[in-house]
């Protein structure tokens, strides 16, 4: 499997008045195509900052981030914006969908943005939404959907333009346990079937049961990387 994402000693420091805060401290990691990774850690561990840097939304203070060999730090803001549009898929914790666009239009937005909303594109959007069980809600607005349905639309939008990597920020934060499991399982299946690289930031360790690798952060540093299936299962269900 080819490596899609590779970071080398990535750090991010903030200056708050006279204090220097290291939000991320020399984190090196890699994610391969078809690999679904969970980035976990308690609040303030630096996982969201790390995700922002992986998305090119934030520049690292030190270190390098490469997606399919392209260094993000060396890109201009406009080039990074184009890169995000084409190569990265996103789902967010909140404000995930455009409230005034229907389910169909929300997913089509990424194709329209990339100049690929042709007849085939429209059919792919429908097919993907049907796969995600949203065929009865194609023309509904986000406000007419449940939290789980909204997250599934966000997943469809994140995947529709065949990005190199998909980044998900706490996709299950507002869902009940059953729906959370459904969403993450769907996510994992699509990432595996489409051979994409996927990173999910979550504070809910139970959600790691569907991932291939767990990257645990603490105080901005990489605490451990778990790749063994049995260990991941233990990590996801510590009480069992």
């Amino acid at each position: 499997m080819s490596t899609v994402l590779e970071t080398c000693a990535v750090s991010k420091t903030y200056k708050v008045e006279k204090n220097v805060i290291k939000a991320v401290d020399e984190v090196s990691l890699s994610v391969d195509a078809g690999e679904f990774v969970a980035l976990v850690g308690p609040s303030g561990s630096g996982k969201t900052t790390m995700l922002a840097m992986l998305a090119g939304l934030l520049s690292p203070t030190d270190g390098s981030i490469k997606i399919n060999g392209q260094e993000l730090a060396s890109m201009s803001e406009s080039k990074r914006s184009r890169f995000r549009r084409k190569k990265i898929g996103f789902t967010f914790q909140e404000s995930n969908l455009v409230p005034y666009l229907t389910v169909l239009e929300n997913v089509e937005l990424l194709l329209k943005l990339n100049g690929r909303l042709d007849r085939d594109g429209k059919q792919r959007v429908k097919d993907l939404l049907v796969t995600l069980g949203l065929d009865e809600h194609l023309h509904n607005l986000p406000s007419q959907l449940s939290g789980g349905q909204q997250q599934r639309v966000a997943i469809a939008r994140a995947l529709i333009h065949n990005p190199d990597i998909v980044l998900a920020d706490e996709p299950t934060a507002s869902l009940d346990t059953e729906r959370a499991y459904q969403v993450v399982e769907t996510f994992a299946n699509l990432i595996h079937s489409q051979q994409l690289a996927g990173i999910m930031v979550t504070h809910d360790l139970r959600m790691t049961r569907y991932v291939d690798k767990v990257i645990q952060m603490q105080d901005g540093q990489l605490k451990q990387i778990i790749q063994d299936k049995a260990e991941i299962s233990d990590f996801a269900n510590p009480q069992d």
């Binding site: 922002a52 406009s78 184009r82 404000s95 455009v98």
Partner: protein, 408 residues
């Protein structure tokens, strides 16, 4: 070239739309407007109300201004002569026939006519309100007599006939050939004079009253007098002299020449004359101030609405930027929305004003001219985008990091 390259960089704009994304801003703008049509329609109605207010103030300013200046503005003369030292006040100015003859002798003067201004009232039968009018004495066939659009011009200096302004005809129903009665105060007595309508002119209001034009000697006989009439006919006094020139463009030189060669007179052009009418400037500046403040209120209302809208959408805008929607597309979508809302509001307001004005009686001095309407509508169309400038700044400042809850 410098602006093309450096401005987008300075504003942190991504100008690369991609192959098919150029209509993206229209797509986003339209969908948001359509799916929130009630909310946006409400703000359009606010714009419509502001439009109505601005157009009515403009119409009122035009109507009142016209009521004051219409006769002088349309006067078929290039210069108006006043008595010197009366501060260009028509009622205070007193000129006699000697001055008229002096002016007539000046080379370059084409024609002269005396103008006498006073007030009177048209009276009708029982139960009908009298109509206050400006009674203007003119020399038949000379500058100052308005052209009759119906009927004929005045014929003799002493004839008991009149040309009535269009407003008099509209308000009284008088037609050419009809007789009417004028009431005038002579000393302490009310006296009544019967005149015949020789012709009807276009609108020629003066001093906010409709006008009736009579031959000069008739005017001298009818005009209100403080005491018993004496031998006025032999010593005819009037207020001003209307002067038509051989070369109207030469009026500044001719004005100077007239002031030099005719003693105790002041010569001015028509515009200066009506702008010097008592209260004219104060009235116009008051109404213009009202209009400007209404427009400012419009800027604040529209600006406030869109600012609240934008602040409510910060997270959504951050998300759009994070997924790669260019800032320029977001800004253009916003501009399209604000322009569309403003245009809709101004259109509703303009049509509403037009319909409302049709129900107004002719006595209300509201006049809608193409110039004043275009000026008012243009300024109204500018207030929307102007009000949106603050929101535009917010849009530019939203960072894509907001989507992850990380922006400062």
């Amino acid at each position: 070239m410098f602006i093309e390259r450096s401005l987008p960089r300075a504003l942190n704009l991504d100008l690369n739309f991609g192959k098919l994304s150029s209509p993206l801003f229209l797509h986003l703008a339209w969908k948001e407007l359509w799916r929130n049509k009630s909310r946006y329609f409400l703000i359009s109605l606010v714009v419509a109300l502001i439009t109505t207010l601005v157009l009515f103030i403009a119409g009122l300013a035009e109507g009142l201004g016209l009521g004051n200046r219409e006769y002088l503005q349309k006067l078929n003369a290039d210069l108006i002569l006043y008595q010197e030292g009366v501060d260009l006040s028509i009622p205070s100015s007193r000129l006699d026939h000697g001055k008229l003859n002096d002016v007539w002798r000046i080379p370059g003067v084409k024609a002269v006519g005396s103008l006498g201004f006073s007030n009177a009232a048209l009276v009708f039968g029982e139960g009908q309100e009298p109509l206050d009018i400006s009674l203007i004495g003119v020399d038949p066939g000379k500058p100052g007599e308005p052209p009759a659009v119906e009927g004929r011009q005045l014929s003799g200096k002493r004839d008991k006939e009149a040309i009535i302004g269009r407003n008099v005809a509209l308000q009284t129903g008088l037609k050419v050939g009809d007789n009417f009665t004028l009431k005038s105060i002579q000393g302490a007595q009310e006296e009544f004079f019967t005149l015949q309508v020789a012709g009807i002119s276009d609108g020629r209001q003066y001093s906010l009253q409709p006008s009736v034009f009579v031959p000069h000697l008739t005017w001298d006989r009818i005009k209100p007098k403080a005491a018993e009439p004496g031998d006025d006919a032999s010593d005819l006094i009037f207020n001003t002299i209307a002067v038509a020139l051989d070369d109207p463009a030469d009026w500044p030189v001719m004005a100077a020449m007239l002031e030099e060669r005719v003693s105790d007179v002041e010569a001015i052009d028509r515009q200066t004359a009506y702008e010097s009418t008592p209260g004219y400037q104060a009235q116009q500046s008051t109404l213009n101030t009202q209009r400007i403040f209404t427009l400012l209120i419009g800027v604040l209302v529209i600006g406030g609405f869109f600012q609240i809208q934008t602040l409510q959408k910060v997270a959504q805008i951050g998300m759009l930027k994070a997924i790669g929607v260019p800032s320029l597309a977001i800004i253009l979508a916003f501009i399209v929305q604000i322009v569309a809302i403003t245009i809709l509001g101004v259109a509703i307001g303009s049509v509403g004003t037009l319909l409302l004005s049709l129900s107004f009686p002719v006595t209300i001095p509201i006049v809608f001219t193409p110039q004043s309407n275009v000026a008012a509508i243009s300024s109204l169309l500018i207030i929307g985008p102007l009000g949106g400038l603050v929101s535009l700044r917010i849009l530019l400042k939203v960072e894509p990091l907001t989507a992850l809850g990380l922006a400062s």
